[in-house]
């Protein structure tokens, strides 16, 4: 495979320009290649909360008339089939949504269950249909679990920026609203993660809310922020690991990876330490706490 060019800049088929009548006249070959790359850029690795295009998971995209074929790879042959399935089927959906595209082929390679996943996604079987013996259902709950984590971690990321660069104090963060966020990545990133959970992002909406949109209570904020930091560190660590494994597995992969966007959001919010004993269970009391924080 051709690993030397970044995704989106390779293999845009010359055949496109040979058949202009098959497409809208303003769609040049490079426009369409960019549309395909942009569609793939909306496909997120649920565990790492990053686009597959930044992670170097896309190895090839070909456009032939109204047909699009892309190839994907993962850091190990044993990456969870559930998440692999989500990425392959999300890529299929994202590409199918481009108006001029009629036929999409997404091929996962070098994975222990690649053939089955590729066939299942191509046939539109869904996860349960792809794994009739093994799966008890679709992956909606799994996906939501990781969207909640991504949202939680992102709250901590934007709060770090507000404290570090915009003179907010931790005590005031409970009143932080969407409109207060600087334009660009912090605002857009948070809005995207809220949308993934079905939450609106009106300018007056509070930033510190749970996955149902309920505001964190002022007394809960320090501990919730502290836990959000642990979530963020966990996701970041997993991303470092997976990116490194991909580079070890494919020597040309570094050229396909873009720096983890989250890094530029900064880390290390100076949240005052919450005493650990405050969260240690006294009999069963903390069970309710645990439910509340999740």
């Amino acid at each position: 495979m051709n690993d030397s060019a970044p995704p989106g800049q390779r293999n845009a088929s010359i055949a496109v320009s040979d058949r202009p009548s098959a497409t809208r006249s303003d769609d040049t070959a490079s426009d369409r290649a960019a549309q395909v790359a942009s569609a793939l850029g909306t496909v997120i690795d649920p565990e790492l909360d990053e686009p597959i295009t930044d992670l170097g998971f896309v190895t090839d995209q070909r456009i032939d008339g109204r047909r699009v074929a892309v190839r994907l790879r993962l850091p190990t042959a044993f990456c969870s089939p559930s998440f692999a399935y989500l990425m392959v089927s999300d890529a299929q959906d994202a590409l199918s949504a481009i108006d001029w595209v009629q036929d999409v082929t997404v091929t996962l390679e070098d994975h222990h269950d690649a053939d089955r996943i590729n066939r299942g996604v191509a046939a539109g079987l869904g996860f349960a249909g792809t794994y009739p013996e093994e799966a008890a259902g679709e992956l909606d709950a799994l996906r939501r679990t990781f969207r909640v984590k991504a949202h939680t971690a992102f709250i901590e990321r934007v709060c770090t920026i507000m404290v570090r660069e915009h003179h907010w104090t931790v005590e005031d963060l409970g009143s932080l609203r969407i409109a207060d966020l600087p334009a660009g990545r912090p605002s857009a990133g948070l809005r995207r993660r809220r949308a993934d959970l079905g939450l609106p992002s009106d300018p007056d909406d509070l930033v510190m809310v749970d996955e149902f949109g309920a505001a964190w209570t002022p007394e809960a904020i320090p501990l919730k922020l502290r836990f959000a930091k642990a979530v963020r560190i966990s996701i970041d660590g997993n991303a470092h690991f997976c990116r490194g494994l991909l580079r070890t597995r494919y020597s040309a992969a570094p050229a396909d990876q873009r720096p983890r966007g989250h890094e530029s959001l900064g880390t290390d919010l100076g949240v005052p330490a919450v005493a650990r004993h405050q969260v240690i269970r006294q009999d069963r009391v903390a069970a309710a706490t645990r439910t509340a924080i999740r």
């Binding site: 799994l142 007394e219 642990a230 070890t248 880390t267 919450v274 269970r281």
Partner: protein, 349 residues
């Protein structure tokens, strides 16, 4: 023992392997994929001079093991935690040789075995036999292992409870749990550690050592371990970041010390995934970077001593610590590492 700057560290490596992933022992393509995946872990996070060839990595000798763990690796004691993986390897992944080695080196090696609660009554009898044969003090469980029609199990499943009750009865106190990665599809998260929460509450006399400190679900592990005083974290897979990403490692160990404290973190190399020598040397030299010390307190020498060996001794009291290698003073409560200044209480009665 490892000595540096006038300090002596008693070393227990709490998780290692004597495996056979040779071509002859591979049952199918998954056997090849599995060891190649392990090899990428090894190659990705090890310093260059410690990287083996894939051939050597597939199957290494007893002499190699003893040299790497005890001569070069500073260990005073090491604990085998074997994995069966009978679906991938003709004779299983872990070699029976490990038990022979433990018998020949009782002062230096402890052998843990494994069970699978999905084997029902038959497996329960087998566990009784294994406990007697191996003098079991611990077991290693791999909850995501494919078994017949099962997609993995939870430690909160009824049969798992029956086995844990049996462990309690047989005096098998240490339950090492390896969560995920699954090789078969699951519609839930194979790394989910929430089942540990239930059994740790219901089996207060057992210790639950979550390998890899729950990575890639560090936060969920920390949260559960904070609630349950009999939940421990093994550092395998986490500690090698100390070389490739020391600042990230600082965050991991900082989070662990914050949430679960210094008494429940265990050093483990996961050999032959990583060589203990460099892990130990780098950990003793390690300190939270200065610009991060506002966030995380510096790590003390006593904390390092606990993590590198003394914490494991508290779980495996048959391991004897020579005079002079204990902490100079009785260990302080780990909560001393956490600031008590705080805003709102949570879960207050």
């Amino acid at each position: 023992m490892y000595s540096k700057d006038g300090e002596n560290y008693f070393i227990v490596d709490a998780h290692l392997h004597m495996w056979d992933a040779s071509d002859e022992n591979q049952k199918n393509v998954h056997g090849a994929q599995f060891i190649e995946c392990f090899y990428d872990y090894h190659k990705n996070l090890s310093p260059e001079e410690y990287v083996w060839t894939l051939e050597k990595y597939k199957k290494y000798s007893e002499e190699q093991f003893m040299t790497d763990i005890f001569d070069n690796g500073y260990a005073d004691h090491a604990i085998f935690n074997p994995a069966a993986l009978n679906d991938f390897y003709v004779n299983g992944f872990s070699r029976p040789l490990a038990w022979d080695m433990a018998q020949r080196n009782p002062d230096r090696l402890t052998y843990n075995h494994n069970f699978d609660p999905r084997n029902g009554e038959v497996g329960l009898r087998q566990l009784e036999e294994d406990a007697a044969k191996y003098h079991l003090k611990g077991v290693k469980l791999y909850t995501a292992e494919w078994h017949g029609d099962s997609r993995g199990y939870k430690l909160s499943d009824p049969w798992a409870y029956t086995y844990l009750e049996k462990c309690q009865e047989l005096g098998i106190k240490n339950i090492h749990v390896h969560k995920g990665p699954t090789i078969k599809p699951l519609d839930r998260d194979a790394f989910d550690v929430s089942d540990i929460d239930h059994c740790a509450t219901d089996f207060p006399d057992l210790n639950f050592i979550v390998e890899h400190v729950g990575l890639p679900r560090l936060e969920d592990f920390c949260w559960i371990a904070t609630q349950e005083s009999n939940v421990y974290g093994g550092l395998a897979v986490a500690i090698p970041f100390i070389h490739t990403r020391p600042r990230y490692w600082a965050q991991i160990i900082g989070e662990l010390l914050y949430w679960i404290g210094e008494d429940r973190i265990l050093f483990s190399s996961d050999y032959a995934l990583w060589q203990p020598k460099w892990l130990i040397e780098k950990f003793v030299d390690f300190q939270i970077p200065e610009d991060m010390q506002g966030e995380y307190k510096p790590i003390t020498t006593d904390q390092k001593k606990k993590i590198l060996g003394l914490n494991a001794v508290s779980l495996y009291p048959h391991i004897k610590v020579p005079e002079g290698l204990q902490l100079r003073e009785p260990a302080m409560a780990s909560s001393s590492s956490v600031s008590s200044s705080s805003a709102g209480p949570i879960g207050s009665e």
